[in-house]
């Protein structure tokens, strides 16, 4: 029956493209999560009145984050080609999309992390300080656990944005569902391929949103 609905679809290609999309988004998401938290913490801790208050570092990190967040992703992909060749050794394939995906998504997530950390009750941080906690203890036992629902809902939003980015990364030969929809579906006028790729991307997004919402609500004990 499926073959009647999608006559032009080569299932092997669809499967391969789905795997590529999941691979690109998965690895990029993991790296974005870590890098975003590090940058977000840096933004938060160096801001005014915080433990590592430093206008200099804050302004620099802030500027870097804003610049990479502002460049349209498709342009960032092209700009990063030389960098990608140095790091990955090639500019083709799913792996080659990773640097751009991470550099595009991490600053976006870093801002969300910063907002999440700002919402941690100042009194609780003060209480931890009054108990003689080190900054590292405050980070790992107060700031991150207390902002975890915000961090998780932020990474959910970022993950969905990343899926969108992977589709664009197809344009520089990274593969994936976006690439398939464009080259197979659009350029060869096989609308059913485009349709199926879209459905699959939607499915992935729904699943991510569902998991993200579920974890967030489980974590939030407020």
């Amino acid at each position: 029956m499926l073959n009647n609905w999608f006559p032009n679809v080569i299932w092997e290609n669809i499967w391969l493209a789905t795997k590529e999309t999941l691979y690109m988004s998965g690895i990029a998401l993991l790296a974005t999560f870590i890098l975003g938290i590090v940058l977000g913490l840096l933004l938060f801790l160096t801001s005014k009145g915080q433990m590592w208050e430093s206008k200099f570092i804050n302004v620099i990190v802030s500027a870097v984050v804003n610049i990479f967040r502002s460049i349209p992703f498709i342009i960032l992909l092209i700009l990063l080609i030389p960098f990608t060749i140095i790091v990955v050794g090639s500019m083709l394939g799913a792996k080659a999309a990773l640097p751009a995906l991470i550099i595009g998504a991490a600053p976006f997530y870093a801002r969300m992390v910063e907002i999440g950390l700002r919402e941690v009750d100042k009194g609780v941080i003060e209480a931890a300080r009054s108990m003689g906690a080190k900054t590292s203890t405050i980070i790992f036992k107060v700031l991150l656990p207390e902002s975890m629902p915000a961090l998780v809902s932020g990474i959910t939003v970022t993950a969905i944005a990343l899926i969108g980015y992977t589709a664009m990364a197809g344009a520089i030969g990274a593969g994936g569902l976006g690439d398939l929809a464009y080259k197979e579906g659009f350029q060869r006028s096989k609308n059913d391929v485009t349709m199926l790729a879209t459905i699959l991307i939607l499915l992935i997004v729904f699943v991510i949103q569902f998991i993200g919402d579920f974890i967030t609500s489980k974590l939030d004990k407020r």
Binding site: D121, G123, V124, E126, A127, A128, R129, S130, M131, G132, A133, K134, T137, K141, V142, P145, E146, M148, L219, K221, R222
Partner: protein
């Protein structure tokens, strides 16, 4: 236990136009071991800043702060963190970690101090019993009432066996009944563990109920300090008088006295203040027997403090001026404070 000498804190302002704010101004203070010391003042009096200098959350601009042998005002880093484990703090808004259960919240300072897990478990159980939260170990703060949250706060503060407990408006967010139960818990802890307690509040009720000594702050300055009963007996500063009135006079006193002065232009309305043992002597009976006077009791109240009771009584005396003057002299001889009220102010 705690010594503050010439402590000032100035908050600089960024803009050049506005003057720097002097939050605490040349405060000298000594608090003894095992004492419950209260600092009272309205908001903005500098009491929050002052208490935060006791554990180094704020550093004084000038002067020195010594707590439990550590010069808090000058130590930094590891030493300060170590010293803070001996100076605990509880807060108006409890400041519990919502992501941790009651048990884990109480265990938090123990984790900071590097106590082993098995010992942590034991200590947390002891503390839960001490503050009366058995059965709530696995609840999250959001599932607790305000009073229970503050009990968790107290248990958490006691975890590392501190020498000093700082209470930052610890009962201001609680209803009167819960306030009383928390205050009783603090007195109990003070007696049982010999803990020195410093508390700041804007409620004289709290001072009256549990403090041994009190200091009154206004505009960053310490305008008055002494044993609670003495301050109740002889408040000198205007602000202290107002605070004392909060607890010694029922709210409607002013109206009643005004009404009385209006209706009975003859005679005198007199405020008597009793302290300690003489609160229980039959003064009024003696007055009526010895003098040709009509005595009418207008209003009265007796308050218990940690070092004795304190009472005020408003009476209206009617008779000849001479007789009234004699009566007043007599009352003074009985070690009772007398103040003739001429108008309701």
């Amino acid at each position: 236990m705690i010594t503050l000498s010439k402590v000032s804190k100035v908050f600089g302002t960024r803009s050049l136009k506005s003057q720097p704010i002097k939050a605490v101004d040349e405060v000298n203070l000594t608090i003894d071991k095992g004492e419950i010391f209260g600092i009272i003042g309205y908001s903005g009096a500098g009491k929050s800043t002052l208490i935060r200098m006791l554990n180094g959350l704020e550093t004084p601009s000038t002067g020195s702060v010594v707590v439990a042998g550590n010069t808090i005002s000058s130590i930094k880093g590891r030493n300060l963190r170590k010293a803070r484990q001996e100076i605990s703090m509880i807060f108006q808004h409890f400041n519990l970690l919502w992501s941790r259960t009651v048990h884990d919240n109480i265990a938090f300072p123990l984790e900071i101090a590097g106590v082993k897990k098995s010992e942590r478990q034991k200590r947390v159980n002891e503390l839960i019993k001490l503050v009366g939260l058995e059965g709530r170990e696995n609840a999250y703060p959001s599932q607790l009432s305000g009073g229970q949250k503050q009990r968790v706060g107290i248990a958490r503060a006691l975890a590392n066996n501190p020498k000093v407990l700082l209470c930052d408006e610890a009962t201001s967010a609680l209803d009167p009944q819960t306030t009383d139960s928390i205050l009783e818990l603090l007195v109990d802890i003070n007696k049982r563990l010999g803990l020195t307690i410093v508390l700041i509040t804007h409620e004289m009720h709290v001072i009256r109920k549990i403090c041994h000594r009190v200091a009154v702050m206004e505009g960053g300055r310490m305008v008055e300090q002494g044993p609670v009963l003495d301050v109740f007996k002889n408040p000198t500063a205007q602000i202290t008088k107002r605070f004392v009135q909060q607890v010694t006079e029922p709210e409607e006193t002013k109206d009643t006295v005004a009404h009385l002065l209006e209706n009975y232009p003859q005679g005198k309305v007199v405020q008597l203040t009793f302290v300690g043992e003489n609160t229980e002597s039959p003064l009024i009976t003696k007055l009526i027997r010895n003098f040709q006077l009509d005595v009418n009791i207008v209003q009265g109240k007796i308050s218990q403090t940690q070092n004795g009771s304190y009472g005020t009584l408003f009476i209206h005396m009617d008779g000849t001026d001479e007789e009234i003057a004699h009566a007043i002299t007599f009352i003074k001889e009985q070690q009772v404070g007398v103040e003739v009220i001429s108008d309701a102010e």
